[in-house]
């Protein structure tokens, strides 16, 4: 996994609360057996008209947002299905950071496992970013995970609230499996002493 330390990038907006993973990546695109190639189907039903033409009414499609790496959106982003295809699609499309007032739990977790930084900011801060982005085409933010700060050239300065462990994993591009396997002895010991909780099924 690619480490996440600093990011300076164009911000794009999705002005809707409760965006569910069915919208992030509709189910007809879940049939791949690889992790890549989902980006072109991101927000498919909103981005395209009849699957071909770019929908001019979908804000993200405007040329001013081209090349964006930061997505700013509203509350409860990523609710619904647990599909990890949602962060895969966001990443494949080019997003490394998503900012919202709140996220659904599973989605929030899934982001970290794929090198995407989800940032919770309070509603007012998110609203401020929305306004600034709308006023200034090509608006950029600086995300500094080491310093836990989001700043901009026009003086924004927000703190990133994130638990230290997750930050550490992201900064170092570490994956959970490797870390857990370091506890192999503890796992084996647990298995010896707790086998009666749910005995291994015998058919």
């Amino acid at each position: 996994m690619e480490p996440f330390k600093k990011l300076k990038g164009i911000v794009t907006l999705l002005d809707l609360p409760n965006v569910d993973t069915d919208q992030i990546i509709p189910k007809q695109f879940l049939k791949r057996i690889e992790r890549t190639g989902f980006g072109e189907f991101l927000f498919y039903d909103w981005r395209f008209i009849d699957g071909v033409e770019l929908n001019p009414d979908f804000e993200m499609n405007a040329p001013r947002y081209r090349g964006a790496t930061i997505l700013v959106t509203r509350a409860n982003f990523g609710c619904g299905s647990s599909r990890e295809h949602a962060p895969w699609a966001l990443l494949d499309y080019g997003f490394r950071c998503v900012i919202a007032p709140s996220f659904a739990d599973i989605f929030y977790n899934n982001c970290f496992k794929n090198g995407i930084l989800p940032v919770r900011l309070i509603e007012e801060e998110v609203e401020t970013i929305f306004q600034r982005v709308r006023e200034a085409p090509g608006y950029q933010l600086n995300i500094d995970l080491e310093k836990k700060k989001i700043t901009s050239d026009d003086g924004l300065n927000f703190r990133i609230e994130i638990d230290d462990f997750r930050r550490y994993l992201l900064l170092n591009g570490l994956d959970d499996i490797g870390l857990t396997l370091q506890h192999e002895q503890k796992i084996s010991a647990y298995e010896k002493t707790h086998s009666e909780i749910a005995p291994a099924p015998i058919g």
Partner: protein, 469 residues
Amino acid sequence: MTPKTMFEKIWEAHVVHEEAGKPSLIYIDRHLVHEVTSPQAFEGLRLAGLRVRRPELTFATMDHNVPTTDRSLPIEDAISKRQMETLSQNCKAFGVTLFDLNNPQQGIVHVIGPELGLTLPGATLVCGDSHTSTHGAFGALAFGIGTSEVEHVLATQCLLQDRPRTFLIEVNGRRPYGVEAKDIILSIIGRIGTGGGTGCVIEFGGGTVRALSMEERMTVCNMSIEGGARAGMIAPDEKTFDYLRSRRYAPKAFDAAVARWEKLPTDPGAQFDRRLKIDAASLSPQVTWGTNPGQVAAVDGRVPNPMDLSDPNDRKSAERALEYMGLRPGTPITEIPIERVFIGSCTNSRIEDLRRVARFVKGRRVASKVYAMIVPGSQPVKKKAEEEGLDRIFKEAGFDWRESGCSMCLGMNPDTLRPGERCASTSNRNFEGRQGKGGRTHLVSPIMAAAAAVEGRFVDVRRYELKED
């Protein structure tokens, strides 16, 4: 000793490793796997040169994109076929038991887990599907996980989890006629909102919940995730034990297991982070009008006016939902016509659901302009329904009777809505495009769906009689 909640007892019994400021490493007793969220996980294992740590605790089925038509025909969708073949190969290579398309136990993962006795009180259970919360009906701690976590559990039999907060929802009082388990949970989600349970494990308690059958409890826990919760759970009792007693994979030393399970329920005086009380007598049959399960109204109510909502986010959401759903504010719910009916999904496709539907439709007919389908949750449910003659009742009434699978719950297989089509559905999600691009989904209980099929619009089932068996 400090009194503990059921969640705390189960959590603490599963902690393998804990460190301040890090998620806990908890042990997983059962891992259920399906074709859509597993291929990349197995691939990850292969690339890392890892094996499945406890294949004997891992079980797989095919449900999400399987066709529900004649199983003897070849599968037309080449990509679905590839996903199913990939699962077969992976299960073979890693030694995982698979209930494939032609297996007599095949079905929706959250229907067959309990049927097979894989779901147990006090156990931790995970699956790469958010509705894994269903299994909490047995007093298990059951989470939906993403594909990276599927890989993590395959490799380590453990999961890294932040300790969730606890939320007790107590439902007491007499449940009125026509109010189903589905209406209880839809009302709760309507009240707490789709993000209301975020970060929490919900325990459902109270007399009304205790009076629910196992099937009904599964319906309630199934939709906990739609209230944003990590999991839902209900204390195990005699009904739980009776349900599990003779199941294929239930513990062989069953009485000893029961003695352990009896200690699981929350101790009197235990503290929850949050509590909510619901009076069952005040509930009515529910119909969703919008594009998330919290956008719901009583059947004798009306489509709301977004202008009446005080929260600007809710207002925006409602405006957009009404536009997508093609509904006008103020329309009585019972004046909404429907053209499709879907009875199925891991929320409502078990034998009891089908029996109640049969009691309603017996001697009635599906309205001529309506196409209605019933998709049993598993092959055992299908077989049981056919033994009881329910399939004949359904077919005589004009329903299409299918093979088991997720089907139009998510429309990954050929069962989908066409743009603009309006459907009364017993499933759990009414998101835009969930049942087919442009399709309009209204979530309801099985009886409400059956009644809508007969009348071609939503009707108040409290005004109708059920036929005796």
